[in-house]
């Protein structure tokens, strides 16, 4: 690949290919073929994803990663190799090695043996170390409630520390073309190529904060390039052909958000701002393993059509903690639904809800929580909508009712109480083709902090 000691390039282009596991499969292909880019960044991991992967790995030790990633890479590997585009992706989930092996096998089948290096970043998975950490006095208290982890220890399904950009930088320095990681922060996947390309240092806090803001801006894919955008949404052109965002980054920490020419969507100050406030806690203190970024210092300017310039970002030193994302089992739930037709659709759905609740009560079934929504009337806007909706004239209303309980048998019994309402409840009912709902395990989220020194990131390089 490129020589290590050449002067820093003025611009590095980092393209977002996936914003979550389940995102548009066409996006990565379009990013690598639609115009020049240097890096393809793909973010796969949401909080709950790791526990799903841990479950898959426990059934089959060769699984536990984002399986979609492999056929997706198979499709773009020849282009990546030909154009020298590098990849950073946290598709490895709880099994980055197995993911890397699957990608390597795909690359060999394409005749790329000896032409690519894969970097593997691990060390984030704390599941096997939890008891040791607890025994040494690390309580892993829930950041929201303050409760110590020992309260739910026997129900923990996964535990992963968020690693930052630096292990990914190390993989790039060791000439990895594709870096596959476990729980590396979404922002670290974008920041790492900048650190690598521009030679930023671990205490360049403003620069690291700027790269973090760049990462936050594109980590959700098209959500900053016209997707899910409220401002003049009906005028956003050609969403069918939406262009995913690209960061054009400079060594001084300034960057532009842009997209390939000829694609749909829209990149404006308003759309980028919406993404900046997404999942935001304290805007003055966006804490990552790499730095603390101050989002109140960000300056945005429209630098051209579909081009927003970002500057002014200030940062502060990183903390001595890492966030740990823990998932644990929290009982069971089931959700059933029935659709009632005009006239009096809302009244019929309300009546069905009353009948169902009476029957559950008569059966002596207690639930920790029970929620009824009337889709078409109050599901998205709650009681405020009921106050103004023409309830007597709604063409149809869906009763959607869910229960939650530690007792699986109670939830199971609930699932058998929906269908009878078709014959023995209010009239004009439909929408029961989906069959009886199934009880599902609830996976709850337990955010905690751990001392940084307790987590040792590990980087390996394998030749394809």
């Amino acid at each position: 690949m490129t020589a290590k000691r050449s002067p820093p390039p003025p611009t590095v282009r980092i393209a977002a290919g996936q914003g979550f596991w389940g995102d548009w499969l066409e996006a990565p292909y379009r990013q690598v073929t639609g115009g020049p880019i240097d890096y393809l960044m793909m973010d796969y991991l949401a909080e709950v994803t790791m526990s799903i992967m841990q479950k898959q790995k426990s059934r089959d030790p060769s699984l536990g990663y984002a399986t979609d990633f492999v056929p997706l890479m198979e499709r773009i590997l020849p282009t990546l190799a030909e154009r020298g585009i590098k990849v950073t992706a946290n598709a490895g989930g709880v099994n980055p090695r197995a993911c890397a092996e699957a990608v390597a096998a795909a690359a060999r089948a394409l005749g790329l043996a000896g032409k690519l290096k894969i970097g593997i970043v691990t060390g984030d998975d704390l599941l096997g170390r939890l008891d040791g950490l607890l025994a040494r006095g690390h309580q892993l208290r829930n950041l929201d409630t303050g409760r110590p982890l020992r309260d739910v220890r026997d129900r923990v399904l996964s535990a992963n520390a968020y690693l930052g950009a630096w292990p990914v930088v190390e993989a790039l320095r060791r000439d990895a073309d594709i870096v596959i990681t476990g729980r590396v922060t979404d922002t670290g996947l974008t920041l790492a190529p900048m650190i690598h390309a521009f030679g930023w240092r671990p205490d360049d806090w403003d620069l690291l904060a700027a790269g973090t803001v760049a990462g936050h801006t594109i980590e959700c894919g098209a959500q900053c390039s016209g997707g899910n955008c409220l401002v003049e949404w009906q005028r956003i052109p050609d969403l069918a052909n939406v262009g995913y965002p690209i960061v054009a980054a400079h060594p001084d920490g300034t960057f532009e958000i842009t997209k390939h020419a000829g694609t749909g969507g829209r990149i404006t100050v308003a759309g980028v701002t919406e993404q900046l406030v997404y999942e935001m806690g304290n805007p003055a203190e966006y804490i990552t393993p790499d730095c603390v970024a101050d989002f109140t210092t960000i300056r945005l300017a429209q630098a051209g059509k579909d081009r927003v310039r970002v500057s002014g970002v200030r940062g502060r030193p990183a903390t001595d903690k890492l966030k740990v994302s823990i998932a644990y089992s929290y009982g069971y739930k089931a959700v059933g639904s029935l659709v009632y037709a005009w006239p009096d659709a809302y009244k019929k759905a309300k009546a069905a809800d009353r009948v169902l609740r009476q029957r559950l009560k008569d059966l002596g079934l207690g639930f920790e929580a029970m929620l009824s929504e009337f889709v078409g009337a109050d599901a998205t806007h709650g009681p405020l909508a009921l106050a103004s909706a023409p309830l007597g004239e709604l063409p149809e209303v869906q009763l959607r009712i869910g229960v939650r309980s530690p007792d699986r048998a109670a939830v199971e019994r609930f699932t058998r109480e929906i269908a009878p309402l078709i014959l023995n409840g209010p009239p004009s009912v439909t929408g029961f083709a989906g069959g009886r709902p199934k009880p599902e395990q609830i996976v709850a989220y337990w955010p905690a902090l751990v001392d940084k020194r307790m987590v040792e990131p590990c980087v390996e390089i394998v030749d394809v």
């Binding site: 909080e47 899910n228 701002t273 900046l276 406030v277 997404y278 999942e279 106050a387 103004s388 023409p390």
Partner: protein, 52 residues
């Protein structure tokens, strides 16, 4: 809609203030972590934000 919500009834009240739908003043995006959601509001015009 045949009738307007009470919540967004317009016109000046006794205080001289006016009720308008938030959508006329701001756009927004929400996000979530676990059971916690945030709502980010962005003024359509900077002059809408008055420091108190």
């Amino acid at each position: 809609m045949r009738r307007r919500s009470k919540a967004v009834k317009r016109g000046r009240g006794r205080s001289g203030r006016r009720r308008v739908p938030l959508l006329e003043l701001a756009h927004a995006r929400s996000g979530d972590k676990g059971d916690t959601a945030n709502v980010g509001l962005i003024a359509l015009k900077p002059s809408t934000i008055r420091s108190s």
